[in-house]
Point group: C2
Chain length 285, copies 2
């Protein structure tokens, strides 16, 4: 039975008890509205740790649009059910005042990695993400923390922050879970109209086409990008924000494929912003 | 006998062993050139913790002048002697590559508190301080960390960072240690010529005059400041950078004393920058 904890002090006391007994702690930071993508994170954390903590906090400092924050789905009871099902030990669901008792003065900036891709379209977003993830890591002090590869830029930024600041934690990236038609699972998918939901799989279709072309030997990013864009641009319900090919660690744009790269896309389906990405492996020589 | 440790891995292994046995850890971050001011930090840490760790790292990212970094005194052997004398368990003295194995992308900013006083004269200094202190706290994971009140702005910034980011550590401020003539101890004092060394006590003399006047009932910051400036401006070897009266927590300028405040000064004695501060307690009504 998952225990729901609301305060930092209560969580720390509970975890100190486990730590004293030499038990390992796995942390899964989420904003709730848990779906099968999150469940994959929970399963992985469950398999690798003695104690699994899921955090549920819709962090206001990472929303750059008030409408997006207001619309973000909140489904605590269902989330508790998902945690129970997955054998999660603790669901940490603090209110906003517990995390930000006064106006915060301290922010964490990961330069370079945060400026392109989603960062260019969501000013301040990754500063909010890095800062709240640092807080959650310092509150729970886990041995491992789990993040989905769907948010690839977020994962790269968190890895870099953890390395640069010497956080004593292992960051584990978990592969994207998809609907049968290829759409990456996201809490925002439930906000799509039927028509947009039907159009949305074109994003993964485009990314997969680029992946296939790279595997056949194409190394020119412009050509790979054009192939990815084609099916998305056929859908009048979808507006491309970006499709880019980047280095998987530095997130610098890649002009010509040498080693592994990542192709990432952000697409608007009406008011809903969808993101996805896949690995590009160049053909072996 | 103090054990000198050079690598993060070795320090973490050593401290994990202590932590598993339930021992408390006190951390004293320094840039070396240890003097009696540091010794007061070591004594306090020794009294309050099972294991005392002193870090010695001249952090390049907090120097905004290359000349200041090059001139900063480096006295490892003497520092080992001071640590031994004080019963320090571990001296952590990493080289630069151990702390910054590649160009760091991650920085911590404490807005508001870092812009005035020394921050206005040393661009980027407190970003460097906050970031390296966060790293040292994450490397050693101490129960308590000790900082001198002489660096009052630094202490306020670190307290704020620790609170905002939920670092699980108690920050302990330790009173400034002075020469018999009042000059605050500093590693930079040994860089003073004889003439400037003779002039330097005027800084504390000025601050103490303001303190006495406040205790007599004066609440006007302009008058308190003028009294502090007078003896310093009499010394041709000293050039005032600032003398300011601020709130001890927010570091906002205070126009009229209500509760406790802090008067802080930075003064140049030739190429050497000296800082000092004292509490201002308004007269009880």
């Amino acid at each position: 039975m998952t225990e729901t904890i609301r305060t930092i002090d209560a969580l720390r006391s509970r975890l100190a008890w486990s730590r004293m007994r030499g038990r390992t702690i796995g942390l899964v930071p989420t904003m709730g509205a848990l779906h099968a993508g999150h469940a994959a994170l929970l399963d992985r954390a469950r398999a690798e740790n003695d104690v699994v903590v899921v955090t549920l906090f819709v962090n206001p400092t990472q929303f750059n649009e008030a409408g997006d924050l207001a619309a973000y789905p909140r489904t605590l009871q269902a989330d508790q059910g998902v945690c129970n099902q997955a054998g999660v030990d603790i669901l940490f669901a603090p209110d906003e005042h517990e995390i930000y008792p006064r106006e915060p003065h301290t922010t964490i900036e990961v330069s370079g990695l945060a400026s392109g891709l989603c960062g260019a379209h969501r000013p301040g977003h990754f500063r909010g993400v890095a800062t709240v993830v640092a807080k959650l890591l310092l509150i729970a002090q886990p041995d491992r923390a789990y993040f989905g590869e769907k948010d690839f830029q977020q994962l790269a930024i968190i890895r870099r922050m953890v390395a640069d600041l010497n956080f004593p934690v292992e960051i584990v990236g978990v592969a994207t879970v998809r609907e049968p038609d290829g759409l990456a699972l996201s809490s925002r998918n439930r906000l799509l109209t039927a028509g947009r939901r039907k159009a949305a799989p074109a994003i993964f279709e485009g990314l997969r086409s680029a992946q296939a072309l790279a595997a056949q030997g194409e190394t020119d990013s412009a050509k790979l990008r054009a192939v990815a864009l084609a099916p998305i641009e056929l859908e009048p319900e979808l507006q491309v924000e970006y499709v880019e090919i980047v280095d998987p660690e530095s997130l610098e744009p890649v002009k010509r494929l040498a080693g592994e790269a990542r192709i990432a896309a952000a697409v608007r389906a009406g008011p809903v912003r969808l993101i996805d990405n896949v690995a590009l492996q160049p053909a072996s020589q």
